[in-house]
Symmetry: C2
Subunit: 339 residues, 2 copies
């Protein structure tokens, strides 16, 4: 998502970030079936029509890749080289996962629920379909949804057509696309994407800790105009409305501050479209000629705040270091920035 | 566009390639006006409602960035580092440009028509709005359209909302997005995107020749499954349907050949959805264990054929060298490739 798309509360499909580990599978929605099995009373095989008969929930969700900001870490972890655009907000509509699990009837000793996608390939030498698990308590949350609509339309192929999981508040790896199977298990899921990928690790030998909820973050629409090649920003002098959005999977965003050359001032905050969607913020700045560094920093209801300095980890996960936008304020950009 | 999206005749907006030189401008469609001026009888200022009252044309168009394939050239030209995904096909709907130019009445000495977008920034040290021209003869073609719909919906912001130019058969730089002004001129347009960018040059001092129509090209859906990190492909042994699409801005695609380890065999071709849209092709391959190199090569009605070896140029433009897909055929991939 290019950062100017922070203008929009709901990100259109073509601007919402996508991370596909393997290829996009092209699935036939009439042949598609969702198998629900494992530690359940009744195994199920559900068609899309079956899901459409269930209760309907619509959830606006800010989804972010756990690797967002990875390529800004030094030294640079080797994986998808995201800068700051691996985020987006969509309205997901579908049937609550808990309703389907209720139909199946979870056994008393169930520990986790495993989700397997139709996307397949090789990662870390392991031939696999993409798979992830959630603790039963998370899976039963009323806002966790088996989504068949995105922003009022059928899912686009790249967002998991015909049905995907959406886990509000968690980094995107939990929201398994092209859902093929749900298995309730009584011991921890050890699949590659759970036990090897998506870990906070100090180094390659460190087993690390799992990546789960989205860390608090704010981003700014970079003001002014870019240079095509360097992407450096030029801003005309005078009043500039700095604006952006802030979100957290851990709690409500309660404060956003804007840093102008190291001086922090509070931004105005507006309401989020839902508890797991971003809040818009804005702040006036009187731009004076010369070079400036603009930053933004959010704090959520748990007291979590974005760090000023990077918290490096081996896979480059959860990098919520404050965004720094370097701008040159000069008259030359004036005619372009005020169309 | 990830290459597996070659499965689809019409590329959804979120998979169709986008190249924005600067930021996406967020425009208000009610305030939006298109100014038509220069060497015309009547200057015009048209609203979106005015355009909607005109005749309607719908054109399926395969659009490709002139820089597609740039990062595969050696040495690697420095610009947007496309591999092979800078392409897509959409159905563009709008009013013929020639109708609007007819309303304005082009002067007899008119040479070119200049299109200016609302997108602005700095490139090559030049502060600019994105601008390009077309010869009058091209501008008057009945299939050149001022498009306000893409695949049946309003244009997404990143594709030029509310109105863009679409020039079927030309590389994408001609299809100016976020159209703000049309100026008819009596001398050649010398704007940056015409006279500096988008040139076939031997080196930085060479004035070069202009990039215009799309060179003939075919691409293949890479068979099998990828490795997440290396993107190397693994294919199960047995029959494999190789398939893809082929297009040319210079003529009709008349032949596609598939190369298997250097042996060329003809592919079957199906009809294109329109004269400027890609044709699907396919070919059966009996994959035997081991490493293989797969290629595809199209020839159009002008006799133009894709080169096997690169034709390097300084900006990395129009690189239609044949695609080479390296695959490893082995049993291990079997269960994943046949879901």
């Amino acid at each position: 998502m290019p950062l100017e798309a922070l203008h929009e509360e709901i990100t259109p499909p073509g601007l919402h970030y996508i991370l596909t580990h393997f290829d996009i599978p092209y699935l036939d929605q009439t042949a598609w079936r969702l198998r629900v099995g494992g530690a359940v009373q009744h195994t199920l095989e559900l068609s899309l029509a079956d899901l459409l008969e269930g209760p309907v929930v619509t959830v606006p969700v800010t989804m972010e890749c756990a690797g967002n900001g990875r390529s800004l870490l030094m030294p640079r972890p080797l994986s998808q080289p995201w800068r700051l655009g691996a985020v987006g907000t969509a309205e997901w509509q579908g049937v609550p996962l808990g309703y389907v699990l209720g139909m199946a009837g979870i056994d008393a000793d169930a520990l986790e629920v495993v989700f397997t996608g139709a996307d397949a390939g090789i990662q870390g030498g392991v031939v696999q379909r993409y798979g992830r698990s959630l603790p039963v308590s998370e899976a039963m949350r009323p806002d966790v949804v088996l989504a068949y609509r995105m922003n009022g339309s059928a899912l686009p192929p790249q967002h998991g057509f015909p049905v995907r999981l959406v886990v509000p508040g968690w980094y995107g790896m939990a929201s398994v696309k092209w859902l093929a199977a749900i298995d309730v298990v009584v011991s921890p899921f050890e699949g590659f994407q759970q036990s090897v990928a998506y870990r906070y690790q100090e180094g390659p030998e460190d087993p690390g800790t799992p990546v789960t909820r989205i860390r608090v973050r704010s981003l700014m629409v970079p003001p002014g105009v870019p240079d095509f090649f360097t992407r450096r920003r030029t801003v005309p002098p005078g009043p500039v409305l700095l604006q952006g959005r802030a979100w957290s999977g851990g709690g409500t965003v309660e404060r956003v501050e804007v840093g102008i050359d190291g001086q922090w001032i509070p931004a105005g905050l507006k309401e989020a479209p839902g508890p797991f969607a971003w809040r818009p913020w804005s702040c006036e700045w009187l731009a004076e000629p010369g070079e400036h560094v603009l930053m933004c920093r959010a704090t959520d209801s748990t007291g979590a705040c974005q760090p000023l300095d990077q918290a490096w980890n081996y896979q480059g996960m959860g990098n919520n270091t404050v965004q720094k936008v370097h701008v040159m304020v000069e008259e030359a950009a004036g005619p372009l920035s005020h169309p």
